[in-house]
Symmetry: C2
Subunit: 140 residues, 2 copies
């Protein structure tokens, strides 16, 4: 694994301070973690955004097939939330049968660019997580 220098650690701490303003401000009116990330970094949200990053346009049932474990209810809820926060757009075509197309907004694409770095990290290091987890199991 690439080692992290003391210098990098200091830079990270500075970024965190800048991000949170005053690190321990309580009753913060709107917390980027609690209020933004908790929705956008949810497992289902990540999968939806990644699939819409790969397939530019997807309809409800296609999306559900790609994310092969999600129920109608949960997919529909997540799509509404992601639309509400502006990550995705929903286009309704009043045909018969009805047709609805989902796609990423520019805002969603902007998020995806950053999100992808994290999921790439996870993909790259998943082996480490697997073996850490196994070691920890044994040690208990």
């Amino acid at each position: 694994m690439e080692t992290i220098t003391e210098n990098q650690k200091i830079k990270v701490a500075k970024k965190i301070k800048k991000m949170f303003g005053h690190v321990d401000r309580r009753n913060i009116e709107f917390c980027p973690i609690r209020d933004v990330m908790s929705l956008a970094s949810d497992k289902w949200s990540i999968l939806i955004i990644l699939y819409l990053g790969y397939y530019p346009v997807l309809r409800f049932n296609k999306l559900r097939k790609h994310i092969y474990d999600i129920s109608n209810k949960v997919l529909s809820e997540r799509l509404k939330m992601l639309e509400g926060d502006g990550y995705i757009s929903r286009k309704l075509f009043a045909e018969v049968p009805i047709r609805v197309e989902y796609s990423l907004t520019d805002f969603g694409h902007s998020y995806l660019q950053k999100l992808l770095e994290l999921t790439e990290w996870a993909e790259k290091h998943k082996g480490t997580v697997i073996s850490n987890r196994a070691d920890y199991q044994k040690s208990t």
Copy 2:
């Protein structure tokens, strides 16, 4: 907002394909999103990792005060999981009263570097999310 070009979209799609291997492989043995990120991108996990990125060493009760809304049970569970996956280390000092110090591992620091880009994005764009959310409420 900075616009995303078609070129960037194509690059992103390629990254996703590379990351997932074959995008629609089912029964994937270990999914980076479902199995790694779902733990590490959880709201509480993010807060724990960020606070340990800012304060290099924290004890249980200090950490709980910084994250001002978390119960003993949840904090203790999350710490165990994050330790199990290798993001944080737990050092026990057999003093009286007992002392336990939590800190990030190198692996945790590596994750934090990527995570931070996402949380910075969230902090930068939280205003957009607020107004998107308000508009969506009105429209329904």
